[in-house]
């Protein structure tokens, strides 16, 4: 049949470093209250999994990058990174 393969992209989206993250600050304060004084910084982001078909890893990665730019992340405020892993048929 066709030469497409199954891939899964694990996408991590977070606010850009310069953007104030009040959620992260609140979680950091919570950790401090639990006694984790060694925690200096917390930033809260989003983890998205995308299953897709593509002929090869390069194509899959290019498509996912486009998805991140256009929807999964908002480039005005967020940055993203992802990894693409091959999955066996049926998964």
């Amino acid at each position: 049949m066709s030469s497409t393969q199954g891939w899964r992209a694990d996408v991590y989206v977070a606010l850009k470093p310069g953007v104030n993250d009040p959620q992260g600050l609140a979680v950091r304060d919570g950790l401090h209250r639990l006694g984790y004084d060694e925690v200096s910084q917390v930033r809260v982001g989003r983890y998205i999994q995308v299953w897709l078909e593509a002929p090869d890893e390069t194509t899959a990665a290019a498509r996912v990058r486009e998805m991140c730019e256009r929807l999964l992340a908002n480039p005005v405020i967020e940055e993203y990174r992802f990894q693409v892993v091959r999955i066996d048929a049926g998964h």
């Binding site: 606010l15 104030n20 009040p22 959620q23 929807l71 999964l72 908002n74 480039p75 005005v76 405020i77």
Partner: protein, 245 residues
């Protein structure tokens, strides 16, 4: 002047806008379901507040793909007056029709209060005849209203006087205390390059009668009546006002 109010699944300010235009302005107004694509019968559009599509992913991120949004974009690019209120503002930034983004409030609280905003720019159809410096008392109700844009964009917005509303105290002073959500430069509302698309977090449509706590919002909604269709034919600024993101 015929108003269209776009309703998405999860909008909750659409009926407020409907009432404000009907009762406050006495103008014809219709709700437009998000699957509609013909907006040719309208002279101006309101994108109302609420939680369109449950605010999934990011506030406004999904609404941007609603069928009606392509028509909203065309309407805006033709110079038609568009007002995005609260979630409507978030949708317009996600769609790239307005610059910047709205982030979670610095307080981490949902802020529900009456605030003061100062009109900074009267060159939009929604602020025409409101002298810069005019102070309006309007309600806010949002969890994600912290205006953010990168430094270069922010400087350009200030330079081009595209900040339309700014949070101030009762005396019109820009102070940190008057800023309900941590917005950069106390920004409560901005416009596109051309000036015909305006977004703001406060709710003018919920302040259309003293009976509901105030009527300053009518001054925003009624400004567009003076603008009429003239606005559509007198572009301001240089670009077409899109792809700012």
């Amino acid at each position: 002047m015929r108003f269209g109010v776009i309703t998405f699944p999860g909008s909750n300010g659409d009926h407020d806008a409907l009432m404000a235009v009907e009762m406050g302005l006495g103008q014809p107004v219709e709700l437009v379901w998000h699957t509609e694509t013909d907006l040719s019968r309208f002279d101006c559009l309101i994108i109302p507040g609420g939680f369109s599509y449950g605010d999934y992913l990011r506030a406004g991120a999904i609404a941007r793909f609603a069928p009606v949004m392509e028509s909203v974009r065309a309407f805006a690019e033709a110079g038609g007056p568009v007002l995005g209120i609260c979630n409507g503002f978030q949708i317009l930034t996600e769609a790239g029709l307005l610059p910047g983004a709205l982030l979670r409030n610095a307080s981490l609280s949902f802020e529900c209060a009456w605030v003061f905003v100062r009109v900074e720019n009267d060159r939009t159809p929604w602020t025409q005849a409101l002298a810069p410096g005019t102070i309006l008392r309007l309600p806010i109700a949002h969890g994600e209203g912290r205006y953010y844009a990168d430094t270069a964009t922010l400087e350009q917005l200030e330079r081009d006087r595209r900040v339309v509303f700014r949070y101030v105290d009762a005396d019109g002073r820009v102070t940190p205390e008057a800023n309900p959500n941590g917005s950069l430069n106390n920004i409560a509302g901005v416009c596109n390059e051309r000036g015909n698309v305006v977004g703001l977090m406060p709710h003018p449509e919920r302040a259309y009668d003293r009976l509901v706590g105030g009527d300053d919002g009518l001054r925003v909604l009624s400004a567009v009546l003076r603008a009429g269709v003239e606005v559509a034919s007198t572009p301001r600024g240089l670009g077409s006002g899109h792809t700012q993101r």
